[in-house]
């Protein structure tokens, strides 16, 4: 991505350039749309929330006196007569990462004003997200059926169920909110709201393809958090 063109401003490379931008008037992040900057800062805050969850989880797991259940066993699927450890999670991860890919492509086509491709790709992302949530719901129901509860479980330390449901629940809620927005944005794309700059229903501000990039940032964040949850909860 090249530097944006700004009348009367000369960009410098490297740290010197960053320092010059910081010391200049009007904006610190040159050419960055307000909505994008907002999403970055919101995601920073959200990162702190998930970090607090994961650090608390590590503390709880590190100090447990009762053995922690073995994730490979608990999260295994019995397929074709064979116990495949972590199969469901592997598929879920694949689906989510792919949906990040379709999202990135959607952003690209959006800026190229290719309405149809952009719309279909957003829809694909939404369906990917929906699939992820569906699989997460399936996993929840399977574990609940096996006796795992937030307050106790038959496999080991009480806190296993508590942390599992809380962290995946919080993450799943984030994914679901993203899916809702994705469906809305797919609709708006197909209807041409971003081409004609139609004013939004809530904020009454003009529509713009940058909104898709902003939602894309959120979606990649949700994907990245999943990678961390996957690593800390399931692989450790």
């Amino acid at each position: 991505m090249s530097d944006p063109k700004i009348e009367g401003y000369e960009f410098k490379p490297g740290f010197k350039g960053m320092a010059q931008d910081t010391g200049s008037d009007q904006t610190m992040f040159k050419g960055v749309h307000w909505g994008k900057a907002m999403m970055w800062i919101f995601l920073l805050s959200d990162t702190f929330i998930f970090s607090c969850f994961l650090i608390s989880y590590m503390k709880g797991r590190g100090s447990t006196l009762i053995d922690w259940p073995n994730p490979s066993e608990v999260f295994a699927l019995h397929v074709g007569g064979v116990d495949v450890p972590l199969l469901l999670i592997a598929i879920m991860t694949f689906v989510l990462i792919t949906s990040s890919g379709t999202m990135a492509l959607a952003v690209k086509y959006g800026y190229e004003k290719n309405r149809k491709m952009c719309g279909w790709l957003i829809l694909a992302t939404a369906i990917g997200g929906l699939t992820f949530v569906g699989m997460q719901a399936f996993e929840w129901s399977k574990l609940i059926h096996e006796g795992v509860r937030p307050w106790e479980n038959p496999f080991g330390a009480k806190q296993f169920g508590s942390f599992f449901f809380m962290i995946t629940g919080f993450h799943g809620t984030h994914v679901s909110i993203g899916v809702i927005f994705l469906f809305i944005y797919a609709y708006k794309t197909f209807k041409g709201h971003y081409d004609e700059g139609k004013r939004g229903w809530f904020t009454t501000m003009k529509g713009n393809y940058v909104e898709i990039e902003i939602l894309g940032l959120y979606w990649h964040f949700v994907d990245l958090v999943w990678v961390f949850i996957f690593a800390f909860f399931y692989l450790w």
Binding site: I6, E7, G8, Y9, T22, G23, S24, D25, Q26, T27, M28, F29, K30, G31, V32, W34, A37, M38, I41, F42, L44, S45, D46, F48, I49, S51, C52, F53, S56, K59, G60, S63, T64, L65, I66, P150, W151, A157, K158, Q159, G161, S162, M166, R199, F202, T203, T204, M205, K206
Partner: protein, 612 residues
């Protein structure tokens, strides 16, 4: 819907305009400021009563809404403090009050004052009104989100106050809400009360995240031409840094509150170890109460700086304007604010020295806590050095500034006692702590709030508050509050613990009784003195002296709006262009003793100004 967007006032994009009109003369070169990077902001203008005054998107209206709601909540907090002082000073007169009630008052007073009054007032009230004006923007960058943030705060307050009316009453766990006691019988409000508290806090955090995004992006990305970060008034720096802290510290509160709610409602054991109650071992087990404390104080310590940093910023501007002198060491003041903000994330466990955490942490946190004293001290020196060789107007605003210096230095220095881990051991959980945090978090920021009200009232309402009433208000509040909290430190020295409903049957009774009575009476007087301000405001709005344009002869942008009070969009047709920092007071060679930020160099060519 569309006619609300027509540029009825004819805002022009200023991308190719320069002050000199694009001419080629030498004068316009001196005055040259880079053209605008982005087109004018698209503002939504409400036309109905509801869209102009209720669901309004104008940051100034939202600021006043925050101010009023925060003040209303603060008055409830004040009344709760009277009830507490009644019990402590005159227990026979407080016969209606049980220990349960007392602890509920203690908790609600604390939570209301810290979060719903001070944080909401500084960030939501002052932040919304002053930031766009001071950086030269027409409004906040996300006005709709800003509006939603206020109503989120409104619902949060509603839920909090609703907890007074649920079975069991509001939570009585102390504002720190420590488990396991917060959710167990034996602590008042351990059922519905604590649940509503947690819900209210979640709503508060959501609202302040929305507001916080507005304040940050407006400062970073919506400044006017010529407004660099180092030309912003310290008020903006204080609120800006505090908002960054809020965005990073509130998550820990959210997580702690959520986990405690799950422990309460679903019976999880995040914070709940094996517990024996009334002869029965409860279903909980394996949890850690200290984990909650770490999460809470990771939020809690930055929280006090979220209150303090805007106060630091505002007081710098008030002292500067009313001494007709630039703030001493502006760059150092900015770095101190940023430094204090950053360091505030590394000191939290000084609230936990006797919590039973790993003792080796004590060394680390004592060191970081005492390091943070250095930039804070630098700010204090710079405030008094601003007075040195100034031309000081001893009006009501300046009196509040002086009161702030005395109370903040006192309160900040007692922090050095508590921060030094060894000294904290005998003093922790005693009245010394209560005296310290009331002095530094309660009285000092209150001095700033009052000073700010008297200072900016002429801008918001177009009239001066009455000086004589103001002086009575100041002296009663300052002297009264100081005589409440200064002696209280000594109750801590004799070892009187905090959160004690009464001291009966104890050797402390005899010595503390008289002091408790005195403090209670002083508290009632100070509380009543605030009525003077309310009377003053009502009187001024009816028959006050009109202030006119820039009545204090200040430099910052909020004083150079085309109309007073500023209207929606702040600047009329043309956005301001900034040529200097806001502290060009008493510049040698200048005609007046102030030069506004928008004054171009060509108009003050014979002066020796600082290159900013």
């Amino acid at each position: 819907m569309s006619d609300e967007y027509e540029n009825k006032t004819g805002y022009q994009a200023q991308s190719s305009e320069t002050i000199g009109g694009g001419g080629s003369g030498t004068v316009s070169d001196v005055d040259h400021v880079r053209p605008a990077e982005i087109p004018e902001q698209d503002l939504y203008h409400g036309h109905s009563f509801i869209t102009k005054w209720i669901f309004c998107q104008d940051a100034k209206v939202i600021g006043v809404q925050y101010f009023l709601l925060a003040t209303f909540t603060g008055i409830i907090g004040l009344i709760l403090s009277w009830l507490m002082r009644l019990q402590l000073g005159f227990p026979e007169a407080a016969g209606f009050m049980t220990a349960e009630h007392y602890y509920q008052f203690v908790t609600m007073h604390g939570m209301i004052m810290v979060v719903y009054f001070l944080t909401a007032l500084f960030l939501g009230g002052f932040g919304n009104y002053l930031i766009p004006l001071m950086v030269g923007a027409r409004d906040m960058v996300f006005p709709y989100l800003n509006m939603v943030s206020f109503w989120s705060f409104f619902v949060a307050v509603g839920v909090l106050l609703a907890s007074f009316f649920v079975p069991g009453g509001p939570t009585g766990a102390g504002w720190t809400l420590y488990p396991p006691q917060a959710i167990l019988e034996g602590t008042p409000g351990s059922g519905m009360g604590i649940l509503l508290m947690c819900i209210s806090l979640v709503l508060f955090v959501a609202g302040f995240t929305m507001g916080g995004l507005n304040y940050l992006i407006t400062v970073l990305q919506a400044r006017t031409r010529g407004m660099t970060l180092m030309r912003m008034p310290l008020t903006v720096w204080g609120i800006f840094t505090a908002t960054i802290l809020a965005m990073l510290a509130f998550p820990a509160l959210l997580v702690g509150g959520l986990m405690m709610t799950l422990d309460n409602v679903l019976g999880t054991s995040f914070f709940m170890p094996t517990i024996l109650k009334a002869g029965e071992v409860l279903e909980y087990g394996g949890g850690s109460p200290i984990l909650f404390q770490h999460l809470f104080w990771f939020f809690g310590h930055p929280e006090v700086y979220i209150v303090a940093l805007p106060a630091f910023g505002i007081i710098s501007d008030l002292i500067s304007v009313h001494s007709r002198k630039n703030i001493f060491g502006y760059r150092m003041m900015v770095w101190a604010i940023v430094g204090i903000g950053g360091l505030s994330f590394f000191v939290w466990a000084h609230h936990m020295y006797v919590s039973g955490m790993n003792p080796w942490f004590g060394f680390f946190f004592a060191t970081t806590t005492l390091i943070i004293a250095v930039p804070t001290a630098m700010k204090v020196y710079n405030w008094v050095l601003t007075l040195w060789r100034g031309n000081i107007r001893l009006n009501v605003v300046m009196l509040w500034c002086l009161g702030f210096i005395v109370t903040f230095v006192n309160g900040g220095l007692t922090g050095l006692f508590l921060g030094n881990v060894t000294v904290d051991v005998p003093l922790s959980d005693t009245y010394f702590v209560i005296a310290h945090f009331h002095m530094v978090m309660g009285i000092a920021p209150l001095m700033v709030i009052m000073g700010a009200v008297y200072h900016w009232f002429p801008l918001v309402a177009g009239r001066f508050l009455d000086e004589t009433l103001g002086k009575w208000h100041f002296w009663l509040t300052f002297l009264g509050a100081y005589s409440i909290y200064f002696p209280m430190h000594y109750l801590g020295f004799i070892g009187v613990p905090r959160r004690y409903f009464e001291m009966y049957d104890s050797p402390y009774v005899a010595s503390a009784v008289g002091m408790n009575e005195f403090i209670s009476i002083a508290a009632f007087i100070v509380g009543a003195a605030q009525l003077i301000l309310i009377f003053n405001i009502i009187k001024t709005l009816k028959i006050g002296k009109p202030a006119g344009h820039n009545p204090w002869q200040a430099n910052s942008l909020e004083w150079v709006t085309p109309s007073v009070p500023p209207e929606h969009g702040n600047w009329g047709e043309k956005l301001p262009v900034v040529h200097r920092w806001p502290y060009d007071f008493s510049v040698p060679g200048a005609k007046e003793d102030f030069i506004t930020q928008t004054t171009p160099p060509s108009e003050v060519i014979e002066t020796e100004v600082e290159k900013t």
